[in-house]
Amino acid sequence: MSEFLRDYLTVVWFGAAGVLLGALLFGISALIRPNHPTEQKVIAYESGVDPVGIGWSQSQIRYYVFALLFVIFDVEAVFLFPWAAAVERYGTFGLVVMLAFIFLLLDGLIYAWKRGLLRWV
């Protein structure tokens, strides 16, 4: 196995330890706590009011703009990653390029702002 994957083995062990710890804590608490379910206890808690209807409901369409903008800036983050991994190699040149990249994409955010999409009404 290469050195690269050996490094990731640490990540795997770390994740496994986390899962094990969580399972252990929940398992112990499930073993030692008293368990007397009644009909009133198992209904979903909604600030002391009886819940009405089901948990699923249609969301507001205006959230969609935020989802779309999130996708664009997520792709931007993907391009920032390799630069950020070796930032000192490129010095001022890399900084200028990435600032140009960020500011050009910021135009999109400013456009959304000007159109009033970021206002919460």
């Binding site: 196995m1 290469s2 690269f4 994957l5 990731y8 089901i54 699923w56 409901s57 249609q58 969301s59 507001q60 369409i61 959230y63 969609y64 703009v65 989802a67 779309l68 903008l69 999130f70 996708v71 664009i72 997520d74 792709v75 931007e76 983050a77 993907v78 391009f79 990653f81 390799p82 630069w83 991994a85 070796a86 190699r89 490129y90 040149f93 890399g94 390029v97 140009a100 990249f101 050009l104 994409l105 135009d107 999109g108 955010l109 456009y111 959304a112 159109r115 999409l117």
Partner: protein, 176 residues
């Protein structure tokens, strides 16, 4: 032919093959749940497992940057769009009886054909040949070297594509 290629690796690669197999089984199982579950939201969440498995496979192939991109773009952004699409547009949310397309059986020969063509192409190209790991691998630093020197102009062109996509999305989302 496929199986000998997978198993005829040296002892060092056994752990790699085991990890590949475990991930592949998890991905196939989750993919089956994607197409068989009655709840569209659950299908989208099962798809998260499939796409995360894909990211782990990229890591096994030492493609660190591709794996991170897979998580950020597919597991993050595309899944958010899927869930938003389901939450915003569906009249009926929850379990549904008749999600299957009446022509679903036609998908089986198409999938088998695709598997055959892709498998044949890969075996025809590489056969039993062992692909050597590149020294240093496709490190993230190598990718950033490429972006910042030979591919600088295409990189800045992508900026404008992204900007156009952002503004296009805003215009389409708000027609007023």
């Amino acid at each position: 032919m496929m199986v000998p290629v997978l198993l005829a690796a040296s002892e060092v690669n056994v752990a790699l093959n085991v990890a590949f197999g475990v991930l592949a089984v998890v991905m196939i199982g989750a993919a089956l749940f994607v197409v068989t579950t009655k709840n569209v939201v659950h299908a989208a969440l099962w798809l998260v497992i499939v796409l995360s498995g894909m990211a782990a496979q990229y890591l096994l192939a030492a493609a660190e940057f591709v794996a991170v991109s897979q998580v950020l773009v597919y597991v993050g952004a595309v899944m958010v769009l899927f869930l938003f699409g389901i939450m915003l547009t569906r009249a009926q949310i929850g379990a549904e009886g008749n999600l299957n397309n009446p022509g679903w059986a036609l998908g089986i020969p198409v999938a088998l054909l695709l598997l055959g063509v892709m498998g044949w192409a890969i075996i025809d190209l590489f056969g039993d040949q062992t692909i050597e790991e590149a020294p240093g691998g496709a490190s993230t630093q190598a990718i950033s070297d490429q972006i910042l020197s030979p591919y600088l102009a295409p990189f800045l062109a992508i900026t404008f594509v992204l900007l156009a996509a952002a503004i296009g999305a805003i215009v389409l989302a708000r027609k007023d």
